[in-house]
Structures are given as C-alpha cells and as structure tokens.
Symmetry: C2
C-alpha cells in the first residue's frame, strides 16, 4: 500500500536564511534577516539554519553572520544552526554560541573538488580538527553528505558510498547527519532505498533528508524518505535557494508546500502553515523576484471562494423547477 | 513499503494542444498546431487530445478545430481525442472522424453551474443525447469527472459522490472515464483512496487520472494513483494549461517531468523522452512565456557535465602526492 509506514510526527528544518539568502543578488538588510528569523522562530520549526560563517568575499550576502546570530531572539525549542566551512568558521560559530554547526562534504570526489577545492580526505581531516576544536562546547556537530544521490560530474551515486561516508563521519565524532540531494537528481526509488538502508544500518542515528526540487520530484522524494523511516526534513521558505540551474528552475523543496502536503495526509509537523504562507508571500517584494513555492500563489487546498451572483441566481432558478 | 503495487507499464495521454493551447493569449498558428501534433504522434503517447469543438467565440484559440483534425497525419497506434461540450460539438467530432470524444461534467454542482451553466442533471441528460447520437459510429466516448477531489466553491469532495457519478456515466453508455483534479486540490491520500475504491468497484473500467500541479503535489499524486492500480495518466507538454491561478502558478502535470520521474523508478511509458524535451524547450518561444516544466530547464537527472580544467589539474596534483 502507498504510504503505509509514515511517521506520525515530522520535524521541519528551515534553511531559507542561509541556503536561500546566500545566492540572492541583492543584499538582504541585516535587520530584515533578524526580523525573518525571529518570526520563523515562533512557527514550530525544529531547526533554523541561520547563516554561514564563510568568507564575506565568497558570499557577500552573509557578511553579517555575527550580527545576525548575536541579535536574534532565540526560542529554546528551536535549534539555531550555522554552516561552517573551516576551523575559522567553527571558532566564529562557537563565539556566537550556535546550538549546532553544519559541516558539508560531497560524497562525490569531483563535486567536493569543484565546490570547495578539497579532496574528501582533506575535508574529513578538517572535520576531525573541527570536532577536536569543538570538544567541551555545548554546540552540536551535524555533517551533510552533499550529492548523496547524484553528482553533476560523476552521475548517480551508489548507496554504498554514502554508507561509507556516514561511517567515516561517525568515527570522527559527528553527532548527526544530513543526506543531501544537492542538485535534485534523486528518484523516489533511490531515496526510499538509501534511507531504508541508512535506517537499518544506523537505527539510532539522527538523520535529516535535504532535498531539492530541481526536476519536480522534491515532494515525492520527501514522501519516499518518510516512508523509509526518516522523520526530519530540510526545506526553504518560498523554495528559495539551492543553486537553481536557470531562472525559473527551483532549488530547495519549499517549506510551505511541504508542510501543506504533509498536513493533507494528516502528518503532524507542528508548523504554523498560515503564518508561513504570509511570510512566503512577502518574499517576492523583498528579493525582487518570483518564488517557486506554489501554495503561496494558489492558496490552501481547503480554501473555498464564494459563488458569483449569477451562479447563485442560476441555482435558485433550477431549484424552483 | 513505498510504491509496492506499481504497474509495469503506464499509458500517457497528451493534452497540451487542447487543455494547454485553449488558454493561451496569443493564437497558435494552425500549421504550428498540426506540426506539433504530428511530432507528438511519433513519441509513443497513448492518446492525444487534439482540440475542442467548442464555440470559436468561447475559445478563439481553438477556432481551427476542424482544420487541425482534418490535416494531422494519424498514427494508428494513437487515439485522437476531441473535447465535446454539446451535441453540436459531437456532430463536428463525428464529421472529422475523431477516435474518441471527451465529455466533461463537474461532480460538484456549483462548479458545473459556474463552468458550463448547467446542473449535473442537465449535463447528464445532454451526455445521454450525445451517446444516442454517437450510436453506430466508430468514435468512443470518454467522460471526465471534473473536481473529483475538491471544488473551489464546495471544498473537498467525498469519494461516494464520484462513485455515484461513475455509475450514472456507465448507465448511459459512457465507455471510459477520467477522474480529474481540476483545480489541484487532491492530496496523495485522497488520490490513493479514491483510485483504490474505483478499481475495486469497477475492476474492468478504463480509467484515466487527470492531475494538476497547482499546489506542487501533481507528481506525488500521480504516483499515489499508480500505486492504487491506475495505469493511464493525462499530462501536458511543458505543464502548460489547466487554468493556473496566477502567473507562475502551474496547471496540468507536465508530461516530460512525469515521464522523467516514471523512468527514474523503472516504469515503462514507451514515451521518447529526449524528443519530448526538445519539443518542450521550443514552447517558451512559441507561447512567448516561460513554462512550468522543470526537466526541460535542468536536464535529465542522468546527464553529466565535464569537470572544469582547474578541477582536473587539482585532481592530478592530489593524485601525485
């Protein structure tokens, strides 16, 4: 049967202010970022990936990472995450008392070299140094496995490679992982099968699924992952970010579309969908471009509109006969 | 388990030249329509909904319905369908020797009144007259159940209502049906449950599922329908048509995105995806607007691109050490 092993509760992690804002052409004002994170903090989200401690030269839009982290009003029920590309970033994350850092390596050697100019061995050695550096702090360490399903240079990725990297992560002290479909190449079957394997091999591991909607399969893949026992999904308000290939192409799966779909099949996300929709509808003006999220345009599936007067008259006329 | 009862073969019906073109602002030249249908005819599609025999005043873009039907080169493996709104339309369809006509009624009384100014009883009486009129011809009769999952005026629709209408259709001699999510309100659970019921109650009935991607759930709903035993899906090249709510909102599920997803899980559609993609990529110029289809933008998930020279050098340098 379809969807028979779904969890009853799904945790949603919001990545728009990091994965979304980092690729925006115009600078999002710092006070606007803070306002957005503060509003997101009240909506029942599990984690918020606030910003990235990268070089301001590499990603100018996140040059205010410290100010944002130090100015937001934290909700104790939310885990505030920052992306960290190196030891310097880890030190900055510690200094701002991030609840969690997120490290990223591509399981594809070619993509890792292209993306961060390091071999996987070099990335892992760096992760190990960062784990040592973080020892004794209250900051948790999550690590992402980019290109877990496919690499734009190497093609589809074998599940065995992902399992190997997870083992390497656990060996050096990583506490939780994110399996990422970085360029939207995953099929629902791949997602189900890899997630199922991961759940079987690492039954107690805290796993997030990070999906992109590049080829329209994002929400289907989310459902495939949930059917395989995943209970935590990354998503981005409005569907912004995630390196779209072309104008109009989409990146990250869209938070409000995901929550809307999960609610439609009676899965509990604990997320305040109406307010999320309000926030998504403000994005086109802020970013000066359209967003890929669809529920923000079409409205909730349960929303009805009134009949026109001419139809009401027609109905009355027919009822008389 | 996820996707455990999927069929091995899925038939795809193309509706772009009717459901897509009917709502385009600019007139698609007749010879262009004929060329597109002739090319689509060679791609392994099951049916092509060519045009609609409506009043040219109501839908100016389809005012060339006869010329298109009489000029296309028919492939005997394809069923050429025309939409028919009334007896006059049925006569026109017969005169052009359509393989099949498609009748449409909304299962929601309010939507039927709004859309075609008739009560459901009036629509059924008309269908009956059309069935009588078609007797003895070689033209098959399909009837669609619009708003089978939800109505924008009445809200979500109970499956019992759909089952009742199917019975009414069969009583008057309809040969096959299409269950339509006209405004994209269906959830994957609704689709699974209704399709499962329909398969159980009418096991030999030829059923098509006609889905819209209005709220991003179109492909997920397709998979839900297939899991419940449906083997035939409508879709539209480029995802055009289907009354989008707003610019950028999507209507019909996109043929190439659907075929791409089904191939990704090893389902056989028999459809030539590369040529379909070529055709989809020509649509923005023809229609003078972007399309919602995503694979046409992002490329096949199995397509790889070459590494940049700097990464090749970096790789070589690392291998030396």
């Amino acid at each position: 049967m379809f969807m028979q092993n779904l969890p009853t509760k799904v945790r949603i992690n919001e990545v728009a202010t990091r994965d979304g804002f980092q690729s925006e052409a115009i600078f999002i004002p710092t006070d606007k970022k803070i306002e957005i994170i503060n509003r997101l903090s009240l909506l029942g989200l599990n984690k918020i990936e606030v910003t990235s401690f990268v070089s301001p030269k590499a990603i100018p839009n996140l040059r205010d990472a410290e100010e944002v982290m130090n100015s937001i009003t934290r909700n104790p029920n939310v885990t505030y995450v920052t992306l960290v590309p190196n030891e310097k970033g880890a030190e900055r994350a510690l200094a701002t008392n991030a609840d969690e850092i997120n490290l990223v390596m591509s399981v594809s050697e070619s993509h890792n070299l292209s993306n961060i100019r390091m071999t996987c061995d070099q990335s892992l050695a760096q992760f190990k140094r960062i784990c040592t550096l973080m020892e004794g702090s209250n900051t948790r360490i999550n690590a992402s496995l980019a290109t877990s399903f496919g690499c734009p240079f190497e093609g589809l990725i074998a599940p065995e490679r992902v399992i190997d990297v997870i083992k390497q992560y656990l060996d050096i002290g990583i506490q939780s992982i994110s399996i990422a479909d970085t360029t939207g190449m995953a099929s629902p079957r791949q997602v189900y099968e890899l997630c199922d394997q991961v759940r079987n091999i690492f039954p107690t591991l805290d796993v997030t699924l990070h999906l992109h909607n590049t080829r329209g399969m994002g929400l289907t893949n989310a459902l495939a992952g949930l059917s395989a026992g995943i209970t935590q999904l990354d998503a981005s308000l409005g569907g912004i970010g995630g390196c779209p290939f072309a104008p109009g192409a989409t990146g990250n799966i869209c938070t409000e579309d995901l929550v809307h779909m999960l609610e439609s099949i009676d899965l509990d996300t604990g997320v305040d969908l109406p307010t999320l929709l309000d926030m998504a509808r403000e994005l086109p003006e802020l970013l000066t471009h359209d967003i890929s999220g669809q529920v923000a345009k079409a409205g909730l599936r349960t929303e009805t509109r009134p009949l026109s007067q001419s139809v009401i008259d027609l109905k009355a006329r027919n009822e008389k006969h």
